[in-house]
């Protein structure tokens, strides 16, 4: 499990886990779960198209991710971001279906994209994934305070250059980048659970923002590492274990919160 090839796998998986954790923390705080659900799913057709055209998968993923951000953003201008997100999802899924129907002979690759195939990450994809993950994580850490502030009210952002619209667009782009590179590792169907599970758990365990963010990353790393080991042993998809751990982490967090909020009722 620790051969040269596996070292690369561990490195990429860890970077994906860190970035997905950070993105997830802000996704949960901003109540942007629907966008976090939509973007990975609408990024998937990009990878399918890349398989079809024989170009680098990461490139296909980034193009599709950009298209979905542009879609959500442009449609949101008319109000109702949820409707805009849903419209984008439907359009991209339509595109994905079309691509899938053309590449039935590559079903193994399609399966890997949907459910994750960390051991199948090509050597050529490792550098772009690493660069994008590091960039996305760095950008989120830079925007830590403005993102927290605007989650209270967007009117609190009084700096002229950092308007609510720009901050929201920046967040969507980071979300799209992180989704695109997480997709080959954990799969389109479960990127969402890697983002939302650890963050929901962490925010229930502590009320300190920096600590909650750090804890999110730790839970995310633990989830991905354990999922890789279990997937290696059982030959089941990584995504299955990531999804399972997401659910367990979330329930544990709710339990922790309930215990902390529980006060013995006074005996009358």
């Amino acid at each position: 499990m620790l051969s040269n090839f596996m070292i690369n796998t561990w490195t990429v998986a860890s970077l994906v886990a860190i970035t997905a954790g950070l993105v997830g923390f802000f996704t949960v705080i901003r109540g942007a779960s629907f966008a976090a659900h939509t973007i990975p799913l609408s990024t998937f057709p990009g990878a399918a198209a890349a398989v079809l055209l024989g170009v680098n998968q990461v490139l296909g993923l980034i193009v599709a991710a950009s298209l979905s951000v542009i879609g959500i953003n442009a449609l949101s201008r008319r109000g109702q971001p949820d409707v805009a997100t849903a419209m984008t999802l439907v359009m991209m899924l339509g595109l994905g279906t079309l691509c899938l129907s053309q590449i039935s002979q590559y079903s193994q690759q399609v399966y890997a994209l949907l459910f994750g195939q960390v051991f199948g990450i090509s050597q050529a994809s490792i550098t772009p994934i690493a660069v994008i993950d590091i960039f996305a994580a760095g950008a989120l850490l830079m925007l830590f305070r403005p993102l927290l502030l605007s989650s209270l009210s967007t009117d609190l952002l009084q700096a002229r250059y950092l308007t609510a619209t720009r901050l929201n667009l920046a967040f969507l782009i980071i979300l799209a980048l992180a989704s695109a590179v997480a997709l080959p590792v954990v799969g389109a169907l479960l990127v969402f659970s890697l983002m939302v599970g650890p963050a929901s758990a962490a925010r229930n365990i502590t009320s300190r923002p920096v600590l909650a963010m750090g804890l999110t990353v730790l839970i995310s790393l633990f989830t991905v590492w354990t999922a890789i080991v279990l997937s290696y042993v059982t030959n089941w998809p990584v995504g299955f274990f990531v999804g399972g751990f997401g659910a367990i982490a979330y329930s544990a967090g709710r339990g922790a919160l309930r215990i902390r909020r529980w006060k013995p009722s006074p005996i009358s």
């Binding site: 109540g31 305070r145 009210s153």
Partner: protein
């Protein structure tokens, strides 16, 4: 200090404010009164520079503006303690993750003490009561020491006791620190004991001045465009549509019937 000079603000197909004028000297406690949709939030956001006016000038003096917005989204699970919200008032627009800083901590602690929030400083904001959350938002707005504080309906959805507490806190700040407060509300009643200025918005226009000057039949009638009576009963003031205004009843349904008392 705040001067608003012939201010007009509109959105496409909707002229919200028309030629609004008023002046608040430093240390004023001013109520911005109007029904839902009368443009209170728009006026405050224009003063903050979040909305560009079609016409007019705004002067806010030196020292920055503190702001307590109308809709604060406090998710009960948000990992944010009361003290974190106040700290965001100091450097929330800065980039990067905050590093521990003793001077920031001292500033936050003294601000928390100022608004009487030391006791719940380390609690999750989502777990606090409405009145406690408003105290924290006021501390957030004031922690950088602005000379002008704008609050958008801070008393909405508070119980009577919390309303009295928040007003007492603001009154103390005005008296002790000579901060200028402009506070929007749809009911002027709870503010009457403390406010010395009033800006009344209706149909895009405004009247302003000392409370006794504005809350008068002739002034309110000309603002609303039909007759309004201001009646005194046992030292309380009643603002009602006069008999004969039936023709305007549909419109009146949206207008307030204020029960107020002028001390």
């Amino acid at each position: 200090m705040l001067t608003v000079d012939s201010l007009s603000v509109g959105f496409p197909g909707n002229q919200v404010l028309q030629d609004v004028n008023f002046h608040l000297p430093q240390g004023s406690f001013c109520g911005l009164i109007g029904t839902n949709g009368s443009g209170k939030t728009t006026l405050l956001r224009t003063i903050l520079g979040l909305v560009t006016p079609d016409k007019g000038k705004i002067e806010t003096g030196v020292g920055g503006i503190g702001y307590v917005p109308q809709k604060i989204q406090l998710d009960p699970f948000m990992p944010l303690r009361a003290r974190d919200v106040v700290a965001l008032g100091i450097d929330g627009h800065h980039l990067g993750v905050p590093l521990p800083s003793p001077s920031r901590r001292r500033a936050v602690d003294s601000m928390l003490a100022e608004v009487g929030a030391t006791e719940f400083a380390n609690r999750r904001v989502g777990d606090l009561s409405g009145g406690q959350q408003q105290r924290i938002m006021i501390a957030h707005a004031l922690v950088r020491g602005p000379r002008l504080l704008l609050l958008d309906e801070p008393l909405a959805n508070l119980d009577i006791r919390s309303v009295a507490e928040v007003i007492a806190l603001l009154h103390k700040l005005v008296v002790e620190q000579k901060i200028t407060v402009l506070l929007s509300a749809h009911d002027m009643n709870p503010l009457l004991p403390v406010m010395n200025q009033i800006v009344y918005l209706a149909h895009g226009r405004s009247v302003s001045g000392a409370v006794e000057e504005v809350v008068r039949s002739s002034v309110l009638s000309s603002l609303y465009g039909y007759h309004i009576d201001v009646i005194q009963v046992h030292g309380r003031v009643l603002v009602v549509a006069a008999v004969g205004a039936e023709a305007r009843t549909t419109e009146m349904a949206h207008e307030p019937v204020h029960v107020t008392s002028i001390p």
